[in-house]
């Protein structure tokens, strides 16, 4: 056990954790909007809209995240019209490619979580709102969305942890996130166990915080 290496690599890994947290938070915020949008589309009665939303979540949940990142990072650059468009400013950056892939991926899982939360809302609650003369739009924003958010908290907490682990794939497109730096230190020192303990410890600490935060929110929103 090389304690010296563990101590000297800790600040480097902690610096890389900032990259990991940035990737995580931006993708989660964007992914939440995508998820909400597609959950609403899933509940649409139009069969084409419905199928489209289902197809999106099926494809993104049925393929590995690694493939999704590679298609966006390596694949999209091949399209000539895209290279000459303003989008190229974003798509040539591995950072944004990773975020797009993560957001689309977590969006697919989030849409499933929110959809099932919407579907478990008792119809009586919506009817109660209607008979009070409240418009369906206000019922949706003031009643259905808050209930759905509370219902989906435990499942969404798991999704945040899965996404935290997912951000490690950013290292495959040259980003130096926590896993990327850990791999670099391992491959230069050949001390995999020491680095794994430190990097893994940082990940576990973040998982622990997320887990407790969600538990706290669940308690807060309990009725």
């Amino acid at each position: 056990m090389d304690l010296g290496l563990m101590i000297s690599s800790f600040p480097k890994l902690l610096n890389a954790t900032v990259v990991t947290l940035k990737l995580l938070s931006v993708s989660l915020i964007v992914g939440l909007f995508i998820g909400l949008l597609f959950a609403i589309l899933r509940l649409n009665k139009n069969i084409f809209v419905n199928r489209f939303a289902y197809g999106y979540s099926y494809v993104f949940r049925g393929t590995p995240l690694l493939v999704q990142i590679f298609i966006i990072y390596f694949g999209l650059g091949q399209i000539e019209s895209l290279r000459s468009s303003f989008l190229w400013v974003i798509l040539k950056e591995p950072y944004w490619c990773a975020i797009i892939a993560f957001a689309l991926n977590t969006g697919a899982y989030t849409s499933e979580i929110l959809r099932s939360a919407f579907q478990t809302i008792k119809p009586g609650i919506i009817e109660a709102g209607k008979s009070l003369g409240i418009s369906t739009k206000i019922i949706f924003y003031k009643v259905q969305i808050p209930i759905a958010i509370r219902q989906s908290l435990p499942a969404y907490g798991n999704e945040i942890i899965l996404m935290l682990k997912g951000t490690s794939l950013a290292s495959t497109v040259t980003l130096m996130d926590l896993t990327g730096v850990a791999k670099y230190i391992i491959s230069t020192t050949f001390k995999p166990i020491e680095v794994f303990i430190v990097a893994g410890g940082i990940y576990l600490f973040m998982t622990f915080i997320i887990h407790n935060l969600i538990k706290f929110l669940e308690k807060k929103y309990q009725h």
């Binding site: 099926y58 494809v59 049925g62 393929t63 590995p64 995240l65 690694l66 493939v67 999704q68 590679f70 298609i71 390596f74 694949g75 999209l76 091949q78 399209i79 942890i161 935290l164 682990k165 997912g166 951000t167 490690s168 794939l169 290292s171 495959t172 896993t179 850990a182 791999k183 391992i186 491959s187 050949f190 995999p192 166990i193 794994f196 990097a199 893994g200 990940y203 576990l204 998982t207 622990f208």
Partner: protein, 230 residues
């Protein structure tokens, strides 16, 4: 389409073999995972606190750390660990383990943590009376488990195990970083030599979708078989 031709002109046969490799790694990893689950599920359910802790450490650490990090640990540390054990027995030559073994083992340990949770949940949701009835019938400890608990546990576990299978199947794509030629690695090679990454990575996505779709069909059949009478 000619990019996918079989033989020397296209990548069809290479990708076909890579798909078989993905299936082989997934199944091996799933089975290794089951053996881990067979060890750690009893630990998690044991009445001894210290054994619980060992079981909990396994599932918490593995499920809280990125798969890629676990793979790097095995990829860079696997040979070293084996050589260390071998040196105790007086063998000091360099040993290299092949990518298939390292990869299946790394993914297997991850898959095992998820399987452990599934089996634990399944056993805990079996009616307590079943355990007592098995005991009262005077069955041996082995047949109590094998004849009464196991069949019920499997029925309860199959729906969640199908999730574990999907996770395992998708995780195998990460082994491509160790150089094992499965779907992702083969697509990477093909994309590099044809300069057509969009096509090959999209095709890889289609292959994965096909694998998840077909395995779901198969698992649904198993589910029907094991839930006879329910």
């Amino acid at each position: 389409m000619e990019l996918l031709a079989f033989g020397d002109t296209g990548w069809g046969d290479e990708l076909f073999r890579a798909t078989l490799m993905t299936i082989a790694v997934s199944i091996t990893a799933m089975l290794i995972g089951f053996s881990f689950a067979a060890i750690f599920t009893p630990l998690k359910l044991s009445k001894y606190k210290s054994l619980n802790i060992v079981g909990n450490i396994y599932t918490t650490v593995i499920r809280g750390v990125p798969e890629l990090l676990v793979i790097y640990l095995f990829f860079f540390g696997g040979s070293g660990a084996i050589m260390y054990v071998a040196s105790i027995f007086g063998y000091n030559e360099y040993i290299e383990i092949n990518a298939f073994v390292t990869g299946s083992f790394a993914i297997g340990i991850i898959s095992g943590a998820y399987s452990t949770e599934v089996f634990r949940g399944a056993i805990q949701s079996i009616d307590k009376g079943q355990f007592e009835a098995a005991k009262i019938l005077g069955l041996s400890k082995f047949s109590q488990f094998y004849k009464i608990i196991l069949p019920q546990m499997l029925r309860l576990a199959i729906p969640n195990l199908s999730n574990v299978w999907q996770i395992t199947l998708k995780d195998t794509s990460l082994i491509s970083v160790t150089g094992l030629v499965e779907i992702m690695r083969q697509s990477y090679i093909a994309a590099g030599s044809t300069r057509d990454p969009l096509f090959f990575y999209s095709f890889a996505a289609v292959l994965y979708l096909l694998l998840t779709f077909l395995s779901m069909k198969l698992i649904n059949k198993l589910e029907v078989k094991y839930s006879r009478g329910h």
